[in-house]
């Protein structure tokens, strides 16, 4: 914007200004995509830009179809969402809008040419006015700075949106895989109950059991059938949520998910000052900081321009009949009644509002960081307890039960009942594992980046 200062004035300036700021050509997408890529480890585009034409769309579809060709790992699902979530695409385009505003701010407003022709009373009056917004010339550097900040802020908010979609997708994936796994275990329980019921029926046919014994087994089996239906309902809902986040439709919805959640890692992440990390890394905090800076600038601008409301420099050419008159027109607001104090007060209030919003955002971020880290660690401990204690002990019980069946100390019905108990324990582990992976995604969201291995150590965007 420095070029503005070099201008001496006059209408010709507009031509020079035109070359000073220009559109990036990708609507600012590249910049935002860079941030989200750094944070998620996954690119948000196929062609390096948002899909604009059929070729782009085909390339995108090809990439997505390739990913959907095999069981979809969590990172793959996140990648598909970043590429294909239409809501996210819409926010990417809002970057284009912000960029256009920025470029616009860097340019002088086009001069306005008014032409007025009137005739009455036998007199023809033609009035031509060429006006040019001088204020914008004066305020252009400030406006440029403001729009620059707004653009940066939008970039952060869009990147943050991408991170949110990534986190949502991660959670939805965990949910969907776990729901599938649980449904599978419900089927196992049902199968064992079915075997019991069937055997009970045959016991009855052989004359060894009463109708009551059979009814008891069959009632249990009927309940497990209901449980399978409920588990399948949950699985469908979880899968559809994931489908929506990935923006899939048609044949693409037939994607496959892995059979199991990833195993629990050997150890949970040890993080130092999580509150500091959150405040430093979270894009929404950075955006709020920018907002505050932005309102501060606006306040400064308002103070500067409190007396100048409109300063129009007009080149006047007036034809009145055969006489041509030339001249210019200048209007200056005289601060007789309004010294601009209300505007300043408003701007100050807006600034203070922004400062408080930033402070609250920081408080929230710190609290969320603490909460999600505690939850993450607790979820890890719980899942580990299931993996190392509950499940092995259940397995031990199953082994011992089989030994007792071998020795004719226990019946096949007890063996089957134990198989069901074992399934329940494994299902408990799935639940705990699901909670762990969800907690991990929550923690990442609360801290503003990926946990796996490392969080970004430098700030993604300098406000």
């Amino acid at each position: 914007m420095n070029c503005l200062h070099k201008l001496a004035g006059g209408a010709s300036m507009a031509l020079l200004l035109g070359g000073c700021a220009s559109l990036s050509g990708d609507g600012g997408f590249g910049a935002a995509a860079g941030v989200s890529e750094q944070r998620t480890g996954l690119s948000a585009s196929v062609a390096g830009r948002l899909p604009r034409n059929d070729d782009d769309a085909r390339a995108l579809a090809a990439v997505i179809d390739k990913k959907l060709g095999q069981p979809l790992a969590v990172d793959e699902a996140v990648h598909v969402a970043l590429l294909n979530n239409q809501g996210l695409q819409a926010s990417y385009w809002s970057l284009g809008i912000a960029e256009a505003d920025l470029v616009q701010a860097g340019r002088l407003q086009n001069p306005v040419f008014d032409f007025k022709r009137s005739h009455g009373g036998g007199e023809l009056s033609i009035e031509r006015t060429l006006t040019f917004n001088l204020l914008s010339l004066i305020t252009a550097p400030l406006a440029g700075r403001i729009e620059g900040r707004r653009y940066e802020q939008t970039k952060l908010l869009v990147s943050n949106e991408a991170l949110k979609v990534a986190a949502d997708t991660r959670r939805a994936w965990v949910e969907a895989v776990a729901a599938n796994q649980s449904a599978e275990y419900a089927v196992q329980v049902e199968e064992s109950a079915q075997a019991s019921a069937e055997l009970a029926d045959r016991m009855r046919k052989a004359g060894n059991w009463s109708a009551m014994d059979v009814a008891r087994e069959q009632a249990y089996h009927a309940q497990t059938v209901a449980d399978v239906s409920a588990a399948r309902k949950t699985a469908v809902a979880a899968r559809e949520k994931l489908t929506r986040l990935m923006g899939l439709s048609g044949a693409q919805t037939a994607y496959k998910l892995p059979d199991h959640l990833p195993e629990l890692p050997a150890a949970p992440q040890e993080l130092g000052d999580i509150e500091q990390i959150a405040v430093n890394e979270r894009l929404d905090i950075q955006a709020a900081k920018l907002d505050t800076a932005h309102t501060a600038s606006t306040l400064g601008l308002t103070k500067t321009t409190r007396f100048i409301n409109v300063l129009d420099l007009g080149v006047v050419g007036e034809s009145e009949g055969p006489i041509n008159r030339r001249g210019y027109e200048l209007s200056l607001e005289i601060p007789l009644f309004d010294w601009g104090s209300t505007r300043v007060a408003r701007a100050e209030a807006t600034y203070m509002q922004s400062v408080n919003l930033l402070a609250q955002a920081a408080v929230n971020a710190r609290s969320e960081a603490r909460e999600s880290y505690a939850d993450y660690r607790a979820s890890y401990e719980l899942a580990r307890h299931y993996r190392d204690q509950v499940v092995p002990l259940r397995k031990k019980l199953a082994d011992e039960t089989l030994l007792r069946y071998n020795g004719m100390l226990m019946s096949v019905f007890e063996l089957l009942a134990d198989a069901r108990e074992q399934s329940t324990a494994v299902n408990g582990y799935i639940g705990a594992l699901k909670d762990y992976w969800t907690a991990q995604a929550n923690l990442e969201a609360a801290l503003g980046g990926r946990l796996s291995g490392h969080l970004p150590t430098t700030k993604g965007v300098t406000p």
Partner: protein
């Protein structure tokens, strides 16, 4: 097998030969038995002569003579008893084993028994069937205070009448007897020729409830025991009773379980010749092949072993010839497992169908919980014996030496004396005269005549 050790250490303890003036200051040795095998009969080294007994999977307690008194030393203590190869039990017993050693004395002997308590609680000994001074009867609270842990009590009385007896605590007896506190007592007649037999076997019937995988009996069990034993041994851990053909054999059993046991001998008839009350007059003896030994009773049976062979000898309650088994396992006989078995196998790898053709699992060798015995096991010359618990054999052989109790192996049947498979033509089943010619067999359809209610 019998090891001698002094259970107390220190110079105050001296051997049998070194008797001080204050004789009571010295205790006889307390020998300890570490093996559950049948010890050879103990020929009396001193005192009145008698024909010693053979304690099945047990032993007889040595004594010392002191001033004409037979002195024994019993030590009540926790022991580990092998119930059968593959299973040990944490029991309470005497001198290293449960049941404790058999005490053999002769009618008229003055007997002094030192009882040292190494259990964690007080105990006492009741001399079941003895006629003795009331204060020597061993009922805590009633005739004496309990013998506290670490204390030694002395019982002294005259063995007044010959017969078959036992000893057991009468202190916290529900726990102590369930833990295996018991032993046999024989009072031989003064005249060794009286009631003389060639072989005289003794054992106690006892029962334990030991959960498979554990070692200590559940002492609160009242009736649902899972291990039925002769002298705290379960088949195939019970030794055979080896006898010479035409020997006169006596078997004496005492019942310290909580139910009766109809004891049955194959191949011979016997007579019940003694109870805890004494000898049965010959005119009152019944010929039997099974005699019921009620709870708290002793029975002596006698027979001439005139039939060579390996003859089964067992309690006739069929669950008592089984080892640990589930009593709540439903009957699977006749239940078609087609299809279901595969389903179960998918859920429980390692599952095998059992019991659909009966309870027999003699051929199955499947892993079991630790420290338990297969419900039925034991291999005979013709295959699986499918027995456990209170089961053993009386092996009658020709030409054994008088004191030879060694297992002679399986009986070699003379040609033509073993049941065999008929391989000839099977004639049609005989039919009643006038019956219609053979038709396919149909299920019987019983219809009651409404007029003929009984």
């Amino acid at each position: 097998m019998t090891t001698r050790r002094s259970f107390l250490s220190g110079a105050a303890l001296i051997g049998a030969g070194m008797v001080t003036k204050a004789g009571a200051a010295s205790l006889p040795e307390a020998p300890v038995q570490s093996s559950a095998a049948t010890a050879p009969p103990l020929v009396p080294p001193n005192g009145r002569p008698y024909n010693p007994v053979v304690t099945l999977n047990g032993w007889t307690l040595p004594w010392r003579m002191k001033d004409g008194v037979k002195e024994f030393h019993l030590v009540a203590e926790p022991v580990v008893r092998e119930l059968a190869p593959g299973m040990t039990a944490n029991l309470w017993g005497y001198n290293g084993q449960s049941p404790g050693p058999t005490i053999e004395v002769v009618e008229g002997d003055r007997v002094r028994i030192f009882v040292t308590n190494k259990l964690p609680e007080h105990t006492s000994v009741h001399w079941h069937g003895q006629l003795l001074p009331n204060g020597m009867d061993g009922v805590t609270g009633l005739t004496q205070p309990g013998i506290q842990p670490g204390k030694t009590f002395v019982y002294e009385f005259v063995a007044r009448h010959a017969g078959t007896f036992m000893y057991h605590p009468h202190a916290d007896e529900m726990a102590q007897m369930a833990m295996g506190m018991m032993g046999f007592w024989i009072t031989h007649p003064k005249d060794p020729k009286q009631h003389a037999v060639d072989r005289d076997f003794v054992f106690l019937l006892s029962a334990y409830d030991i959960e498979p995988g554990s070692y200590t009996p559940k002492i609160n069990t009242m009736l649902d025991f899972n291990l039925w034993t002769f002298n705290s041994r379960a088949f195939p851990g019970i030794d055979p009773m080896v006898v010479r053909k035409n020997d006169r054999v006596r078997i004496r059993a005492g019942n310290l379980t909580m139910t009766n046991h109809p004891i049955h001998l194959h191949g011979h008839t016997f007579e019940v010749t003694g109870t805890d009350g004494g000898w049965v007059r010959p005119s009152a003896r019944w010929p039997e092949v099974t005699t019921d030994v009620a709870v708290g009773q002793m029975r002596a049976i006698e027979f001439i072993a005139d039939a060579p062979g390996d003859w089964a000898f067992h309690c006739h309650k069929s669950h008592h010839t089984m080892n640990a088994m589930g009593h709540d396992v439903p009957t699977m006989i006749g239940v078609d497992h087609t299809g279901v078995a595969e389903k179960i196998n998918k859920l429980v790898p390692g599952y095998m169908v059992m019991g659909d053709k009966g309870g027999s699992m003699g051929d199955m060798q499947m892993p079991l919980p630790e420290n338990t015995l297969p419900m039925m096991s034991g291999e005979g010359p013709f295959g699986g014996l499918e027995m456990g618990g209170m089961f053993t054999t009386v092996k009658v052989r020709e030409g054994l030496a008088r004191n030879d109790y060694k297992d002679p192996g399986w009986y070699k049947h003379p040609k033509g004396t073993v049941a065999y498979e008929w391989t000839g033509e099977v004639p049609p089943a005989p039919r009643a005269p006038g019956a219609p010619p053979s038709k396919p067999v149909e299920a019987m359809n019983v219809k009651r005549d409404a007029k003929h209610h009984h």
